[in-house]
Symmetry: C2
């Protein structure tokens, strides 16, 4: 990325219930602060900000529309002129109109942050790369949760996060820190 000033900021799934989405430990406790730094910088430069919102059809999900958990967290609430892309699966490009919106705005470069790294962030960045968008993932402005792997062994959030970013790096996107993005 030569300068982030050509890019749209894409914040993924920063809704209220994401802060209680898992009883498993998470990584990157500073991720929300870094996302807020990115958001402040984008708004200060009058650049495009896109808020991706997950809406679930599962009655048991905190992301079901109409529940307080599905609302944006206070510090990531969209401004009236900012675009909200609603999705129902992990990939923000699937059935959301996001690609059409980006093409209509002649946006070719994306800076992506949010949660969780190995689900919605990774799925969205893979699609962004495959669709030809020049994409940056902000490593310390994403986070994920520990879980059991396929062999029922505990896998830490940090290991999952690192593997996810390693999949993305060079193949679909570049991976940079918040500081590196804001200095560019």
């Amino acid at each position: 990325m030569q300068s982030y000033k050509q890019s749209a900021l894409v914040l993924i799934d920063m809704q209220r219930c994401m802060s209680q989405a898992s009883s498993w430990p998470r990584n990157n406790p500073e991720a929300e602060d870094n996302m807020a730094r990115l958001l402040t910088a984008w708004r200060a430069n009058n650049q495009t900000v896109i808020h991706v919102r997950h809406l679930s059809s599962d009655p048991a999900s905190g992301f079901r529309p109409g529940q307080s958990g599905a609302e944006f967290q206070a510090r990531f609430y969209p401004l009236p002129h900012e675009h909200v892309a609603d999705k129902h699966v992990t990939d923000a490009f699937s059935g959301s109109g996001l690609e059409a919106y980006l093409r209509s705005q002649s946006i070719r470069e994306l800076v992506v942050a949010g949660v969780s790294t190995n689900y919605s962030v990774e799925a969205t960045v893979r699609s962004a790369g495959c669709l030809g968008f020049i994409t940056t993932v902000v490593s310390d402005a994403c986070f994920t949760f520990a879980r059991l792997d396929l062999n029922k062994k505990i896998c830490s959030a940090e290991k999952i996060h690192l593997m996810s970013l390693s999949n993305l790096d060079g193949e679909y996107a570049q991976v940079l820190s918040t500081d590196a993005v804001l200095k560019s």
Copy 2:
């Protein structure tokens, strides 16, 4: 998956140069034999087989059209009536017409095998799940390669493979062995 007899088999990137695609060690040396078992079973039942072929626009790539490396490996050569989906990125649903083909054939269930687990297989299975296809990934009929992670540490092919399947399991697909698929 209740029975594989409702599913299309999707074999990903089983082209000649994939056998020399990396100087890094791979996992699952039996993967090709398992793919061949799946292919034999699908053909014996006159079920749909789809061959995904990677064609690169990079002049230095072995997957560039017209080179012998871009041809299918002999044991995975498509029969004349079998569909070939050409792709230029990792996700076999991106710009390939694959979704339209599947919808036109009323195919709703997929069994996916091929290479490499964390790139083309994972990207394709994530999209399949997001698009609503009922998808099975065959754990021992996929493989990948070791690599350096984002921190420049060596990560084994088996660790990468396991993390990839753990991302897919339950969220985008179910993960089964070749034996389990063929017994279903």
